[in-house]
Amino acid sequence: MELTSRTPSGPLAEKWDNHRFTNKLVNPANRRKYKIIVVGTGLAGASASATLAEQGYEVHTFCIQDSPRRAHSIAAQGGINAAKNYQNDGDSIHRLFYDTIKGGDFRAREANVYRLAQVSNNIIDQCVAQGVPFAREYGGTLANRSFGGAQVSRTFYARGQTGQQLLLGAYSALSRQIHKGGVKMYPRREMMDLVIVDGRARGIVTRNLISGTLENHAADAVILATGGYGNAYFLSTNAMASNVTASWRAHKQGAGFANPCFVQIHPTCIPVHGDYQSKLTLMSESLRNDGRVWVPLAADDKRPPSAIPDAERDYYLENKYPSFGNLVPRDVASRNAKEQCDRGKGVGSTGLAVYLDFADAIKRDGQATILKKYGNLFQMYEKITASNPLNEPMMIYPAVHYTMGGLWVDYDLMTTIPGLFAIGECNFSDHGANRLGASALMQGLADGYFIIATSVAHYLGTNALGAVSISDPQFLTIQKNVNDRLHRLLRNSTAGPTGKVTVDEIHKELGKLLWDNCGMARNRQGLEKALEQIPGIRETFWDKVFIPGIGGELNQSLERAGRVADFLEFGEIMVRDALTREESCGCHLREESQTEEHEAKRDDANFSHVSVWEYKGDDETPAMHKEPLTFEFVTPSQRSYK
């Protein structure tokens, strides 16, 4: 597997310009001859579809939901970063770049991250022009707030619904193109596999989720914008339909998968409360602007929070990290919460929670101000827990939230399969081993609005592509494989459920195994155990899974089964990756590699690389390749937020 990053030469600040200049273009009159498939309509997919159609390409866009407006980007709450320096507090493109690469614990490519910081400012301008109702100061200028891992205020927001507003902005641009005929939209379609012709990505096979029909689609390039794989853990903050299938299918056809063990565990989620639970709910990181995190000083203190005086509380983040306090990056906050709970200081009925307390902020700013900032979050918390954060502190605990790992891409966001691009969360490109808050929205829109069109033009401009048809043998073969697999999943259906297992039972089993052994803290023994057990769970699944109904109809159990089948394969490279990375970095804490204060201890001499996995066959061990990371413009240091 060849890993050429195509990182442009020259000074950091000129790389993107140089690259755009050397990249080939497609003349406007010729663009309409090219057909581009975009899978997914989150921030990355919707913005890419709209932008490519505006430029004149024929775009075919697919989404799993009933409408492109519902992709999971919509659930992002807190905000989007940009280096505008509107607050005049010392921000700059270079500082956003530095914070992001440091936040990622020096496991991302310098050039990619710098480009992200550069285009961040264009994103804000674009969204304002679309009518995104960002929060404003009384004078009418854009308001900002602070997020973890930064000491400047650079986060733009629309109440606690920033993701929703940005996605609806991208959706409106997409809708305009659908109306104009530039985009043909296919909702309620699931990508089942990728079609490769002559070594290039030339199409996809989808399943129409209403009729169950399999459909072939051909194109000149395929862009995946299919999100992250956090649902491998069963419980996560992801939407129920979020899955790894599109990325995994691409991987099995030759796309390298980078850093699969880099999974962000978000510190502020509503704790787990029962085994019927279907998902975890995030409480935006922005709450840490005003909320103070604490646990009782003494272990096993069962008093209600109001009965514990200040002197008997441990505001452990403020005490341990005086400069960043409650706004340390997510991985640090999560790990410290786990550490407190491991010491028996956790609160709530399960002991797996810490307090996030707004009492001081309410005293300082008044209830009205706090409600204006966080009203919808407080309301959401109260609905789920029946407790009002105005009267008693929130209880929070870390949960799986975002995946930094993903399909390996070069500087052009192209995977190791020519003509197959990956944008947004489904690639690995910008966040290294830990993503800073408010940077996912930034990356999704940077990729979609400002980067991918340049890459697509270059690819089309440098390659002579022959015509393909959906009845070509390659398409027919892939469709047959997809069909055979669906039949295999359904083979127990007529036999009835006796002695069988359900999709959810298997998914929960896999999820628990991954959470316990490949979650917030990892060690060799646990990882080896997980690696040993996954094949058994997979076998039980294929042997005993019972799915009611048939394939040729709307069948939600079958949809879930297909996704779980892929998680069962994918989970293995996640664990394998965690096992091979014998250092701690960002989210990835190997217990064998920590400082005396339990901070992640990197091993730059041996692990300053991207781990890229190559699929070798169903019964073969995957191969791991390394893309070395070199740092010309920053010096990797031990991260300190003290």
Partner: protein
């Protein structure tokens, strides 16, 4: 943790062309900490284990923001709790022994696909006809170039909070989509960026609303009462003004 026992009467319909009916299920030991959709998950797991077809229902984020979920519970879209989507409705709102009638969002413009799943693509077509500012990617002015009073931004945000779930249509005696449409018209006509196209937008979106088979507003205010995001019907008044101005000035 307390638990309750329930009787459910759920709308079952094989596909768009089949006739539907209410099917009765009994479900015991439901934790009051569960969400409504988790209760349906429990039912579906039970049905699956009995070899029966689980109830199809739309859902995705389960955080009240994607707008995918929604059913009518005992005659009320999204159920009894104010400003709450079905996924955020918790079982503590119900009592032991309650009978819950669960039906899809019904409207001429929302054909049923299966059980509780309806086709809301008419909403997408309304947006496609004009629910945007016609601006291409790139070349936009600095975000602070045009100051927008905080109050205007807040009003626009109130309208923009719509999640497109369709509860307003299901609740309206006329099956009108005016709350939905007016939320987008309002957001964009309040902001300076949206003013250039305001007339054409109002005309096009109202026309599409009609073509799709939605009814008109007769001020029943049922939409506002069930809206999970608290969108006010003052947006409908604003849209009517926009529309009238557009008709008079552009015909």
């Amino acid at each position: 943790m307390s638990t309750i026992d329930l009787t459910l009467q759920i709308w079952r319909q094989k596909d768009s062309d089949s006739q539907g009916h209410l099917q009765i299920y009994t479900l015991g030991g439901i934790s009051t900490d569960m969400s409504f959709l988790e209760m349906l998950d429990v039912l579906n797991e039970k049905l699956t284990k009995e070899g029966k077809d689980p109830v199809a229902f739309d859902h995705d984020c389960r955080e009240g923001i994607c707008g995918m979920c929604g059913s009518v519970i005992n005659g009320v879209a999204h159920g009894p709790e104010k400003e709450t989507t079905l996924c955020q409705l918790h079982m503590r709102n119900f009592k032991n022994g309650d009978v819950l009638v669960i039906e899809p969002f019904r409207s001429r413009a929302f054909p049923i696909r299966k059980d509780l799943i309806v086709d809301r693509s008419a909403f997408d077509r309304i947006i496609q006809s004009g629910g945007y500012v016609s601006v291409n990617t790139g070349g936009t002015p600095d975000g602070n170039a045009v100051p927008i009073p905080a109050k205007t931004a807040e009003l626009a945000m109130d309208a923009a909070a719509c999640i497109g779930c369709g509860a307003c249509v299901a609740a309206c005696p006329n099956g009108a989509a005016m709350l939905f449409t007016s939320a987008k018209v309002s957001q964009l006509c309040l902001l300076p960026q949206g003013k250039t196209e305001r007339k054409a937008r109002a005309l096009a979106m109202v026309a599409t609303m009609d073509e799709e088979g939605f009814g008109y507003c007769s001020n029943a205010r049922e939409c506002e009462a069930v809206c999970p995001k608290g969108i006010s019907i003052s947006n409908i008044a604003r849209m009517n003004r926009e529309y009238l101005k557009a008709v008079l000035l552009e015909g």
